[in-house]
């Protein structure tokens, strides 16, 4: 079974000095949560055959994520960009993405990262699935094929669940699902040699701007500021053994060790 896979990725900002987000080529990177998702797509292509197309919605700096995906080995890259999409929240983003994905029909599987490191909602994958009217499974650790269906293993809390997913379908990948590959230098070079990034705007999507961009976004960020955490220093008393036991207990109860 050869799979036509779409992977939705994002360029995220690594720094926002003084609480202001200014995206530049220097401070944008591929969302780290998208790396294991790309890896999963590439491994599926290796075992099942097919193609992987990376899609991102955002301003010009979105190309960073696409070039990184191409460097890892995806076949095709699409930048969905238009002034009409500016200021989108997760709902408007999902709506736009679903239109862009529909334009790539037929496809078998749409893959998302768990969330993005700069806005951290985890909403875009599931919302896009709703707009596409497709089943979605989140927290995905592993995918194997069984006949026409995919067996999808999902990790949630302390449990592992198995689903069988009829295609086409949508998954969001667990952040620790797999170690993403390093980009081989020749792949980076190839990613930039051809001019492979397709740009898609509002017109190409053939939809109206209604419900998109800032005006189509029901949520609005009012302000952003750094949380100031109070540092606390505590001394643990007792014999060295007691101190060690107490320390281990606290590390465990704090959730730092599983």
């Amino acid at each position: 079974m050869s799979l036509k896979i779409i992977i939705c990725i994002k360029s995220v900002v690594t720094s926002a000095p003084e609480g202001r987000v200014v995206r530049t080529m220097d401070n944008c990177i591929l969302n780290p949560f998208d790396r294991p998702a790309i890896e999963m797509a590439l491994r599926l292509r290796e075992t099942e055959g097919g193609t992987v197309t990376a899609v991102t919605m955002g301003p010009e700096t979105g190309t960073i994520a696409l070039y990184e995906a191409l460097s890892m080995g995806v076949d095709r890259a699409v930048l969905v960009t238009d002034r009409a999409f500016a200021g989108s929240d997760t709902l408007a983003t999902s709506k736009t993405l679903s239109a862009a994905i529909n334009r790539l029909k037929p496809f078998d599987l749409v893959i998302f990262g768990a969330r993005s490191s700069d806005s951290d909602t985890g909403q875009v994958g599931p919302q896009t699935a709703v707009f596409l009217d497709l089943p979605v499974i989140t927290g995905v650790k592993e995918i194997t094929r069984k006949g026409d269906e995919l067996i999808v293993e999902r990790h949630i809390d302390e449990y592992s669940e198995k689903y069988s997913l009829r295609l086409p379908g949508v998954v969001a990948v667990h952040p620790r699902a797999m170690q993403p590959r390093d980009a081989a230098l020749s792949m980076v070079e190839k990613a930039f040699k051809k001019d492979p990034i397709e740009k898609v705007g509002l017109k190409d999507l053939g939809i109206s701007s209604q419900g998109l961009g800032e005006s189509g976004s029901p949520t609005r960020l009012v302000s952003m500021s750094k949380i100031k955490r109070k540092k606390k220093c505590e001394f643990i008393n007792g014999s060295p053994e007691e101190q060690a036991d107490e320390l281990v207990k606290r590390i465990k109860s704090g959730g730092y060790l599983s």
Binding site: M25, D26, T63, I64, A184, L185, S186, V188, E189, K190
Partner: protein, 382 residues
């Protein structure tokens, strides 16, 4: 004119850094201590293309430009200078002369396995009696029918202990001075090819620097690179390119030292404040950062000139001279910031200090570089 890294350079820098921090950083201290060549990561580096950075893609390389090359060497050296040395010597004075001067058959035979990292390259010029004065090499390759009989005693050879394909600088016409110099490729395993003991180096200890001895090695004439008498030309071309790589290595060491110095200055408290609040320490931080940044500009500029096909000899000599001296000064300052703890092996700065020293010596000493630069400047102002 653009002084900023573009998308590609940013991606390369980030991905090489992430590989080095994940795969090399955890063992960097041990491989220095044990003087061990880490095959396990070298194999991974080979698969990612680090051994054929500028070799054409048709020959199994990545086909990248020199600026990108510098960033890769800088990033590897920032984590482990001994491996940075391995990669830069292999690429710039091992692979590059074969690409530039080899015939098609030679390129297929040697460049492809070298570029894939399946074989390791070495550049063998230095001899017991010959260092800076390269034209005086005493080794010989005497033609005998369709073979050369090569006798050579090469010392201080980077990658020597693991080298498969060696570019040997030798005299095919011992009476003809530098016009008798030629480069002959000798593969490990050729009868008479002997690797000496590894040197117990001060720094860059992960690199298996050793001597290589050729005793009556019978080598086919097809192993001659270019023509007889082209040795000087090939050597100079290789070293012009190699120097940019050594400059990038020095830059990587300086960057690493500076980062360690800054980190320590924020952690260490004396007189009730972190030492970075003392003005003398701040002066060192300012000087380190300024010197590292200016070295970086010189290295990238020399590389950019090479990429545009412009003459870059002078710039590469200046970049190598300056970056290696900056590496010396910056590792010294960063060690000073560490106080007594800088002098013990607990902190990586002690290693960087040792690693930096040799960048002022190999591929042309600082003194020789000043000679080259002055000659070129005096020429310009004739």
């Amino acid at each position: 004119m653009d002084f900023l890294l573009d998308e590609k350079l940013n991606i390369v820098k980030r991905s090489v850094r992430s590989f080095c921090e994940r795969e090399i950083q955890p063992i960097a201290r041990d491989i220095d201590h044990e003087a061990r060549f880490p095959w396990e990561v070298v194999e991974k580096m080979g698969k990612l293309g680090y051994f054929g950075i500028q070799a054409p893609q048709e020959l199994g390389g990545a086909g990248m430009d020199t600026v990108t090359y510098c960033i890769i060497i800088e990033e590897i050296s920032r984590v482990c200078s001994g491996l940075g040395l391995c990669v830069t010597v292999h690429n710039s004075v091992g692979v590059y002369p074969l690409v530039a001067f080899g015939n098609d058959e030679q390129k297929k035979r040697w460049v492809t396995p070298l570029a894939r990292g399946e074989k390791i390259g070495a550049f063998c010029l230095t001899e017991p009696n010959i260092g800076s004065d390269a034209a005086g090499v005493e080794s010989t390759a005497i033609r005998n029918g369709d073979h050369y009989i090569v006798n050579a005693n090469k010392v201080l050879i980077t990658n020597g202990g693991v080298a498969d394909i060696c570019l040997i600088f030798t005299k095919t016409d011992p009476g003809a001075g530098h016009k008798g110099l030629s480069v002959i490729v000798v593969e490990r395993g050729t009868p008479g090819f002997e690797i000496g003991d590894l040197e117990d180096l001060s720094g860059n200890r992960a690199n298996p620097v050793s001597s290589i001895r050729l005793n009556d090695c019978k080598v086919p004439v097809g192993n001659l690179l270019g023509k007889e008498g082209m040795g000087m030309k090939i050597g100079l071309a290789a070293l012009d390119t190699g120097r940019i790589g050594i400059a990038a290595q020095a830059l990587g060491i300086a960057q690493a030292a500076m980062e360690e110095g800054i980190k320590y200055s924020k952690e260490r408290r004396q007189f009730n404040v972190p030492i970075c609040q003392h003005q003398s320490v701040q002066n060192m931080i300012a000087d380190m950062a300024t010197q590292v940044e200016s070295a970086r500009l010189m290295v990238y500029r020399a590389a950019a000139k090479r990429d545009r096909g412009l003459p870059f000899s002078k710039e590469s000599a200046m970049a190598k001279l300056y970056a290696s001296e900056v590496a010396g000064k910056v590792t010294d300052m960063a060690l000073q910031i560490h106080g007594g703890y800088g002098y013990i092996k607990t902190y990586p700065i002690e290693r960087f200090y040792r690693d930096a020293r040799v960048t002022r010596i190999y591929e042309g000493t600082s003194e020789i570089h000043r000679v080259v630069i002055a000659r070129s400047i005096l020429d310009e102002y004739k």
